[in-house]
Symmetry: C2
Subunit: 337 residues, 2 copies
DNA sequence: CTGAAAGCGCTTACAG
DNA sequence: CTGAAAGCGCTTACAG
């Protein structure tokens, strides 16, 4: 592998000059630039990033941190969409992605993750930080490198989806269809901050429609399709009069729809079932699922953009992204009977 | 941040000794080990990986390469499962994952990817390498770092799923149910090497059942659920007598099932539809989908294991993983009428 | 078993 | 605008 030295020798200049030309400092003539670039070309020179990292303190690598909770990272389609947004932005700005999936316990993050953060390998961090009992951002700020949290943890820079408005929109829509007997398939609030906001949105929506939210039966699942079926079973056995189920994610909505089918309740004619997230499968499912689009790729893109701003010395603002109601086939007015 | 120097001073030994203790070479007494470890502890020392990389030539980072074709990386659940397997193995062996999603064109891979490979940042590569018109492994072998390909490209080390046997099993099963009028929802063979093997498996299976594979109508989709619906429409309009559709992935099978529903053909009673891959949604779909499990996480795990063997100086063998038929609700014997 | 010293390939004040 | 030189924090023969 040719080094900076080789390029310098070939171009007849010093390594300092080569370095300056390559890093686009303004201090050189067009003539030397040409000489250097030609030598680079002929030698097929590529910078050694490790050396660059050691001497400059910059690696052009960012860590993307998806905490490993409940195996959710590797089965949740949303995660991949967020990653997609981050990757797109990284491509534009010339950063690489180091993927980290630390294990979270109530005693904090694992040692390997700590080591990574302290290693000098990364310039910044984008982290999904929504698990109430442990923050992955905290070790990062301790090390003093820039971090952007996707979630509700207090961090210098955050990107959030407006979960409150999302479920508020949904509740307005469902009550607007005429539903009054509504069941909730939720998720334990201590698992995920977003859930707390989604529940508040539901409550606010119920209040707007003069319904007592506390009377809505609610059973909690664990994000999975299977749990959606189980929750729907519990809910509908005890409350057969329900005309609508609001689920806090799409996969549980799919599970609920499947359960409904097994007991002969047609969706949407005999039961409305709605979801949240708008994962790709929500449109493809049968019936296609009415849901809230929380713009996952955009979430990732915004986080990356903020991080790069910070790394370039700017002071960006945190971002909250709006949600959108996507009306599909799984919802309808309650049957008149 | 404390450095090796600081640790050495505190422990009253040389930096060389500290380095040896930390990297587990056998040359030191228990006494010095204790001194060193105590200093490490007290200082909260963590090695600077960039420095380590520069001087040793090893980074403990591997690149995981998912070529960006047809946006498939970020919508394909299988990708995430493979990544899951790789991540699990990396955790055990102390490697980090640098995620790379190069754009492939007929003119090869993009410049950013080339730069990454040449950068000295990575010890090895695991790559999905299945796109006939461009290999992402080739630049890696040119650089001379170890690489494991998941796919059919000729590489020193490969991990493959036995696609041929997968579809062979499936065809045996479907014909065993009594189906003779079978439609194929395929994928263009020049898009993906696996597809070529899957098609051969189908052909072999048809031959075993004394059926002429060439008579099976076939329409090609693009992996997506939507394309599955479209293909099913074309197939069933022109060949209403078909009793079974074999789809080369699960998402297209889901699309096909939905289309069947719109024209009043019940799956499985009035039409058998089977898939391939066993993505998580295949079990959750309604009806749940008969499919081939290609053990995606295991694929990733095996690839990582092979790579670490090579990096440790061993000479592992390439691996071919068996596939498993998963029988669920979307398949049945053809209606007698 | 231990340490002095060179070296990995860059970047960055600093002087000119 | 250009270059000599120090330095980033480790590892690795080598000598003892």
């Amino acid at each position: 592998m040719p080094t900076l030295q080789d390029v310098a020798k070939k171009a007849g200049v010093s390594t300092a000059t080569v370095s300056k030309v390559l890093s686009n400092t303004p201090y050189f003539t067009e003539e030397t630039r040409l000489k250097v670039m030609q030598a680079v070309e002929e030698l097929g020179y590529m910078p050694n990033l490790a050396a660059r990292a050691l001497s400059s303190g910059k690696t052009r690598i960012i860590a993307v941190v998806f905490p490993y909770v409940y195996d959710a990272i590797f089965t949740d389609p949303l995660v991949l969409r967020i990653l997609e947004g981050i990757e797109a932005e990284c491509g534009k700005f010339g950063y690489n992605i180091l993927l980290s999936t630390p294990r979270l316990t109530t005693r904090g993050v694992d040692a390997r993750y700590r080591q990574l953060i302290m290693s000098g390998y990364i310039d910044g961090v984008i982290a999904l930080d929504n698990v109430p009992f442990a923050s992955v951002i905290e070790p990062v700020r301790k090390k003093g490198i820039p971090a952007v949290a996707i979630g509700y943890y207090e961090a210098d820079y955050c990107v959030r989806s407006d979960d409150f408005s999302g479920t508020l929109q949904m509740m307005r829509y469902v009550t607007g269809l005429g539903h009054r007997q509504i069941g909730i398939i939720g998720i334990a609030e201590n698992l995920h901050y977003s859930i707390q906001y989604r529940l508040r949105g539901l409550k606010a929506g119920a209040a707007e429609a003069n319904l007592d939210y506390e009377n809505f039966p609610r059973v909690d699942g664990d994000f999975s399709t299977t749990s959606g079926s189980d929750c729907a079973a519990k809910l509908l056995e005890q409350n057969p009069h329900l005309t609508a189920l609001i689920c806090l994610n799409d996969r549980m909505a799919m599970g609920a729809i499947q359960y409904a089918r097994t007991i002969g309740r047609d969706v949407p004619n005999n039961l409305t079932v709605v979801g949240y997230d708008d994962i790709p499968m929500a449109a493809a499912f049968s019936p296609s699922i009415t849901t809230i689009d929380q713009q996952a790729p955009e979430l990732g893109r915004a986080a990356a953009h903020i991080l790069f701003d910070v790394l370039d010395g700017r002071s960006p603002h945190s971002v909250e992204l709006p949600t959108h109601l996507i009306i599909r086939q799984s919802s309808a007015s309650p049957a008149s009977g």
